[in-house]
């Protein structure tokens, strides 16, 4: 008998997957032998709609895929491009890996930080930008590199920062 039923009470905060997302996740799941494999795609689908992955979505995805929420949360928190907290309209990811580190990552981070008035993990008061570190973007030949939403830039000089951000209202 399942003695643990009392421990399993759903704690999804009433989050309900959008029917379209649900269909998309089920579609992804069908591609793989193991349901775990569809986990990243499912998280991306939810993030596309909400801008981030709310707590309740972890449980909802786990239930849809038939795996434990701990497993989904493990994947969600491993990837720096899955956001587990609300983010601004645009996300700035500064590469802090070795090549960029050698060619001025520090200065670039300082410049962005003081321009926006926020540190890593923070969002500007107008909800426009969130600043996050990221590991190697594969743009090492043009370090220091950063990424805003889906666009990669580099090398980015400290004085270019203000102009660059103008493109992201």
């Amino acid at each position: 008998m399942n003695e643990n039923a009392h421990l399993l009470a759903s704690d999804g905060d009433g989050f309900i997957l959008d029917p379209e997302d649900l269909r998309a996740i089920e579609h992804e799941r069908a591609h793989y032998e193991q349901p775990q494999a569809a986990c990243i795609e499912a998280l991306k689908i939810v993030q596309r709609r909400h801008g981030w992955v709310p707590d309740g979505a972890i449980v909802a995805i786990a239930e849809t895929l038939g795996i434990g929420p701990a497993e989904v949360e493990g994947v969600a928190t491993f990837y720096s491009l899955i956001f587990r907290q609300p983010v601004g309209r645009h996300v700035i990811l500064i590469c802090d890996s070795s090549s960029c580190f050698l060619v001025g990552y520090d200065t670039l981070r300082e410049a962005l930080s003081s321009h926006l008035g926020i540190g890593f993990g923070q969002t500007t008061a107008d909800d426009r930008f969130t600043l996050l570190p990221v590991c190697c973007l594969g743009a090492c030949d043009g370090g220091p590199a950063l990424m805003i939403d889906d666009d990669t830039y580099g090398p980015v000089a400290a004085e270019d920062v203000a102009a660059l951000l103008e493109d992201y209202p």
Partner: protein
């Protein structure tokens, strides 16, 4: 075999091992974290680095992780190499960058693998000067405390919990230097083996919460080699005591039984030993309702007088008491007046099982051996609830297919990540037939949810499909036939098929069906196994001792054929309907009860004699494997509570017998009563050899129960008496109640109170006691096996029940074993009760609809003997026509009985 060179000297090692295993087996102190003998290697922590050289000319060498490199013939390595040493010291330094260094307040301190490794590598100075990352801890339930800051990110916890034990609710979160191990949300850890995290985690992240309130360091605990009394598996344990209370239970390594792991009932269910309301002095419950506490002599006199006046005295034994105590009771009252104390239905099952262990042609595997079977059929058991540790072994047997697949491609079994990646969810076939969902369904090929009689029919059909001479099942439907044939083919195709059944559903038909399958496999020359689950710690033993069931004893009393009864460690209300028990006890003029718990029987006895629990007593139990094992007294209760008069059941009974005959009470020892018992029962002749006798010495010394650093001995009784008494003497065992005596690892010995070796304070010290890591104790694994199959295979049994049909307006009861709350003694421990699920009646969806009842509604279940109201649980896996009742609630509800159900009118629910 392979020859490897370590620091210039040659050694013979097992070439299938990795270098770390080989070095540890050779006795070298090579530090490691992420590797575990039962979990294999992942090369994550980098702690086990050694220098490896290509050949004799290579003077440079290269650093390798010992746990990831095979111990190939001709390997040359150095542990002592300066670069390797420095590397290991710097690994531990960086693993400890965020570590809080809070050993003085950490409950791992003193048995901590991280402490041991830190000392071993010589890292003694912290250079990191920056802010440490910190974490929030979680509430994980009544068993486990959580302190994440101490984590060194070795990943052992999730590898055990998820990969080994099949748990889902523990994960690794985050990345980089910010990794968190816990639940996705705070809450009770669900897995039944969560307690092993306290030993698997090399640091103080997961510690024993039941130990926390009154904490004592390992070096201040007194230990004894003991055997778990909480089910029939017989796991070996090391209970630790301080100030007269058991403080925690540690795993005691047994190479063939539990090896590294216990279940949570066994580890956390000891609280009944420490209960305040335990009887600690003899009690006389007189006519006047007043309770008088007595001293030993007085109690024996009154007891003897009462028995002398009796015309005939009945003795009721117990499957949770030792063989010695049961046998002494039998001696007191005589064979003709002795009952096993087991209800008839259960005893019939036990007898059938014992016979099958001898004449079904297949041997009973040990738990370790279970893991090398490659196709398993479970008939009528939810192993995780009824014999949890066995269930964990079955899981390993099923998962072992991955290792077989990997081996075929030259990947060694210890290379855990590679094995998992290659084999994904490849599994050996497992079939589970049980009325509802079970704890092994997630790794089962097929789960067949059926009524007991249909499970039996399926079993008989499997036997017939294996060997046509086995009786055929008449009127079998096509789909059952196809399933049976599929199972039969699978079992026949396996190298080592295993059939597991047992007495949980109290169905002799199911047991005999498993016997027929075993016989059929044996007849077809298959090297398989048959494992039969019993209910309690000594069910197998007391059945071997043999005698009449409990009903007989009660009837003798009720009809006045006897007028006195002595009940040994047995709360009869747990076994038979209370009315029947009460009638019998009221008819008796004298009721004498021996127990360590204040049961309802104790309360209504004329004379109560406080018996020892496993913690204060010694004795022998026989496990489901037929292994007789001795458990030894952990502490002397009078040392800290001088007023107590607790003695082993067998000692009381011996003394009572002497008093009855007006003889002086003789000095009797454990060895003497064990020998007596062996002499009286040919089937038990082997038990003398189960353990060394009291005169065993190692290097001329008795064996120490206390670690050599045990502190405070001269002060711990100062509130009672300023002069320290002589430590209690122990005439029964080779152990001392003292730190004086042998405590080392290098002289092989079979019974080890606690594992310690120089430099190894954590449970990893067991590697020093085994012939190879994860192997067998060098002194031999404890116990002797009593039940081996004979040459002659018995005849097939034709006891095939008709198919189950659901009744109109009536339901068939199935009593469902529960790990937490379903066992008499552990359910008196507070953490177990806190962990137990709310009790509910299980009913199929269809039946719930028919009764117009919804989840949570109160239902009344009524049989000819009893009536019980409980909330409903709609069980989507249960077949219609059955009502599932959690075990441990009402002895009058028996599997197979007919019950009537009704919805309780609002406001009239009785509390369970």
């Amino acid at each position: 075999m392979a020859t490897i060179q370590v620091d210039g000297r040659s050694y013979e090692v097992d070439g299938k091992d990795n270098l770390l295993q080989a070095c540890l087996t050779l006795g070298f102190d090579l530090p490691y974290f992420c590797w575990h003998p039962a979990l294999g290697s992942v090369g994550a922590c980098r702690q086990c680095a050694v220098k490896q050289y290509r050949d004799a000319d290579d003077t440079q060498g290269a650093l390798v992780m010992a746990c990831m490199v095979p111990a190939a013939d001709g390997s040359r390595i150095s542990i002592e190499d300066e670069q390797a040493r420095e590397f290991r010291a710097s690994v531990i330094e960086w693993l400890m960058v965020h570590h809080p260094h809070d050993c003085p307040v950490c409950e791992e301190g003193g048995h901590c693998h991280l402490q041991d490794m830190t000392v071993m590598t010589g890292h003694s100075r912290r250079r990191y000067r920056f802010r440490k990352r910190t974490h929030r801890n979680q509430y994980l339930g009544p068993f486990i405390a959580h302190e994440m800051n101490r984590c060194i990110t070795c990943y052992r916890c999730v590898r055990f919990y998820r990969d080994y034990a099949g748990g889902e609710d523990l994960g690794a979160f985050g990345a980089n230097d910010n990794v968190y191990f816990g639940r996705h949300r705070e809450g009770v850890l669900e897995n039944e083996f969560s307690g092993n995290l306290t030993e698997v985690c090399p640091t103080g992240v997961f510690t024993d919460r039941t130990h926390s309130e009154r904490y004592t360091r390992k070096w201040d605990l007194q230990f004894a080699p003991s055997v778990c009394h909480q089910c029939s598996v017989g796991c070996n344990i090391s209970p630790g005591e301080r100030y007269g209370d058991i403080r925690r239970i540690e795993n005691r390594y047994h190479g063939e039984v539990n090896r590294f792991f216990l279940c949570d009932r066994g580890r956390f269910g000891y609280g009944y030993v420490n209960r305040d309301d335990r009887p600690r002095r003899p009690e006389w419950h007189g006519e006047t309702e007043e309770t008088v506490t007595l001293d030993v002599d007085e109690a024996l006199d009154r007891g003897a007088d009462a028995l002398r006046e009796a015309r005939r005295v009945i003795g009721i034994g117990s499957p949770r008491a030792s063989l010695e105590s049961n046998d002494q009771l039998r001696e007191l009252v005589g064979q003709a007046n002795f009952s096993t104390g087991i209800a008839e239905r259960e005893q019939v099952c036990l007898t059938r099982m014992r016979r099958l262990n001898r004449d079904a042609g297949l041997p009973t595997p040990t738990l370790r051996d279970v893991e090398s079977h490659d196709a398993i059929l479970v008939l009528g058991e939810d192993l995780i609830q009824s014999a949890a540790r066995l269930g964990l072994s079955v899981r390993q047997a099923v998962l072992a297919r991955r290792e077989r697949l990997a081996e075929a491609r030259g990947i060694p079994a210890w290379n855990a990540e590679a094995v998992m990646t290659l084999a994904q969810d490849a599994r050996h076939p497992l079939f589970v037939a049980y009325p509802t969902a079970t704890g092994l369904d997630d790794v089962a090929d097929r789960c067949l949810r059926q009524a007991p009689d249909d499970i039996a029919r399926l079993g008989f059909a499997v036997a017939h499909a294996i060997d046509v001479k086995a009786p055929a099942v008449e009127g079998i439907d096509e789909s059952t036939k196809a399933t049976a044939e599929h199972i039969a083919e699978t079992l026949l195709a396996a190298k080592r098929p295993l059939v597991i059944s047992g007495g949980s559903l109290e169905s002799t038909a199911i047991i005999e069906a498993s016997g027929n399958i075993a016989r059929a496999l044996a007849t077809r020359g298959r090297r398989g196994g048959l494992m039969l689950v019993r209910r309690e710690a000594n069910s197998t033993g007391v059945e071997l001792l043999g005698s009449r069931p409990l009903e007989w004893a009660l009837d003798e009393l009720t009809r006045g054929a006897a007028d006195a009864v002595v009940v040994l460690e047995n709360d009869l209300h747990q076994r038979l309907p209370s009315g029947r028990v009460e009638r019998a006890l009221s008819a008796a003029r004298t009721v004498i009860v021996l127990d360590h718990q204040r049961t309802s029987i104790w309360e209504r006895a004329d004379l109560g004699l406080p018996a020892a629990s496993f913690a204060e007593g010694d004795g022998t139990l026989v496990s489901l494997e037929g292994r007789a094992q001795r458990f030894f007294q952990v502490f002397e209760p009078r040392y800290h509570r001088p007023e107590t008069r607790i003695h082993q059941g067998w000692r009381w009974l011996q003394a009572l017998r002497a008093s009855l005959k007006r003889r002086a009470v003789p000095d009797v020892t454990l060895d003497a009563v064990t020998r007596d018992c062996a002499r009286h029962h040919p089937a038990l002749a082997g038990i003398v050899e189960a353990s060394p006798s009291a005169d065993q010495r190692v290097s001329g010394l008795k064996l120490a129960r206390q670690p050599h650093r045990y502190s405070g001995r001269t002060a711990m009784r100062a509130h009672l008496d300023v002069s320290e008494p002589r430590p209690p003497q122990d005439p029964d065992t080779p152990f001392t109640f003292s730190m004086e005596g042998y405590y080392g690892f290098d002289r092989p010995r079979r019974e080890v109170p606690f594992a310690w070796a120089p430099g190894w304070n954590s449970p990893q010290a067991w590697n020093k006691f085994t012939d190879e890591v994860g192997g067998h104790l060098r002194g031999g694994d404890p116990g002797v096996r009593l039940l081996e199959p004979t040459e002659d295979i018995g005849d097939y049994v034709n006891e095939i029940p008709p198919p189950f049909t659901s009744g109109v307006g009536e339901w068939q009861v199935v009593v469902l074993p529960r790990l937490f709350g379903g066992e008499e003694t552990s359910s008196r421990a507070t953490p177990i009760m806190a962990r137990a699920a709310a009790v509910r009646l299980h009913l199929s969806e269809e039946d719930a609809r028919r009764l117009e009842a919804e989840e949570g509604d109160t239902l009344v279940v009524e049989t000819s003997l009893t009536r019980l109201s409980l909330p409903l649980r709609v069980d989507t896996t249960l077949p219609s026509g059955l009502v599932g009742v959690p075990a441990g609630l009402e002895a009058a509800l028996v599997t197979g009985d007919r019950a009537w159900l009704s919805l309780a009118p609002e406001g009239e629910e009785e509390p369970p």
